[in-house]
Amino acid sequence: MGHGSVTAGRQSISFRRRSVIPGFGLTFGLTVTWLSLIVLIPLAALVLKTTELSFERFVAIVTAPRTLHALAVSFGISFAAALVNAVFGTLVMWALVRYDFPGRRLVDAIVDVPFALPTAVAGIALTALYAENGWIGSLLAPLGIKVAFTPLGILVALVFVGLPFVVRTVQPVLADLDKQYEEAAASLGASRGQTIWRVVLPTIWPALLTGFALAFARGIGEYGSVIFIAGNMPNVSEIAPLLIVVRLEEFRYADATAIAVVMLATSFILLFIINRLQQWTERRTTER
């Protein structure tokens, strides 16, 4: 590093460093081109479309109670679902990596099902299960808990679709963690709980954050499975993606894109924050 270049150290103006790995120019060019075609240009079109609206109109659309509520439902419940997945996904992943139980491979395969299942199928299946006369719903009904056609139903659907993201990102990291770290902690007098809290969790933390971010992002964009179980009552259980579809069906394209742009910006900011957080934790564990 600092090989007679313009500046030295991390605050270098030039982002191209001397490196033994060639092909920076080519890969950077490809990345930008590809990202532009697939991601940036469609997004730009989206933003462009909203410019058809006056600023006042835009503000009026996105601050309408129904819009605000839909956004709150989408982001709030996605966040909650990602949290649930972070906790329970970690438990599932732990069992899969650390214990050899009968049917382990089967469970391992089942984890991927939410990836592959058409989301509408998942939504219909979950609705059937959690409806008041469904297998699970009929058990919960006497306790006064209603899942289907409430915001709780949205949470269930988002937990379902988000689970594999957490499991699959954290699993390889834990599997690669040599048992000697835990042995070292134990030999220094740490209890099992202390070992997990002070040694294992910090190691899988960056991967867990990534898994959380992926599950969260998936939850925000999820449509198919949610609309069946949510009941879709405006101001109660209506998610933002559904509201966009509703507006499209009313031919109010500019309204739809305005909501989309707000979703886009919010998602981007949140994911960016999580990403930075993840980089920060990772830098601490792999500092070279």
């Binding site: 042995e183 070292a184 902690a185």
Partner: protein, 349 residues
Amino acid sequence: MTIDVVGVSKRFKSFNALDNVSLHVRSGELVALLGPSGSGKTTLLRIIAGLDWPDAGEVRFDGEDALARTVRDRNVGFVFQHYALFRHLSVFENVAFGLRVRTGKDKVPDAAIRARVSELLELVQIDWLADRYPGQLSGGQRQRVALARALAISPRVLLLDEPFGALDAKVRKELRRWLRHLHEELPVTSLLVTHDQEEALELADRVVVMGHGRIEQVGTPAEVYENPATAFVHDFIGETLALPAEVRAGRLYAGDRPLALDSQGTADGPARLLARPHDVDFADPGDAPFAGRVLAVRTFGPVRRADIEIAGRDGPVVVEAAVPLQQDLATGGLIGLLPRKYRVFAASA
């Protein structure tokens, strides 16, 4: 603290990793476990530490049953072969780990932790690295952190698994001397695994030679070198020149020729005569007990070595002999070998 290992056996599936191993380590001793790869050194060390349990046998610390206690309560310092430093913690926090996990009435106040860690880092001479992360250290520095971390819990027993295995020759030598010094300063009984015989002979009070899950010999470095108990130890420690022979009716033969050498009470049958290369003289092929053809002569600094092909029972064998500098030796010529000092072992042993 004394360590007693009594009749310990350990099997992995059908494989006998340790076979009825018994060992007594005196308080304050530094003992080296020496043996080829796969001989069970790590397995024995892990059982003493409490990271593994034996299938049979006992482990006692100061006469007390250690197997009843888990690794947490044995208060042993264990240094792993690849250090196993916690990557997300700074050097300081790595060393402090064993103190920070103490809770309740054993809780160590922060100031005491600071003082103790600083003292340890000074002891291992890396106090200036306290704020770095393990990923930013050299191998030798990581080794020192691993040692300081193990010493933080004031262990009475220090177990080191190939502590210098991953370091280059120069650093090893330096750390070796330093470890010996450290051991003498601390009230600790140390057990060190190595497969480097030079390291074991130079560092240890006593050496335990292991082979195939058994202890072959226990003794001071001089004893195991001068007086190997088995052919395995002779082969493994120091250089060995092995000459094929046979014992018939208590006499030693090379092929059909009776030799004017002592059979040392070895039972009748195929035998091997083992000697240190510098204990074998060159002689006239006619008068010497063994003779062979010189295949090659190599000079390497002050040492000269010759590959000599000798007729054995099952075809020719090549031995490597030490050649005195003044000795004339022509490649392709015949030369006699006369062992001055040697041991005879049955060939199967």
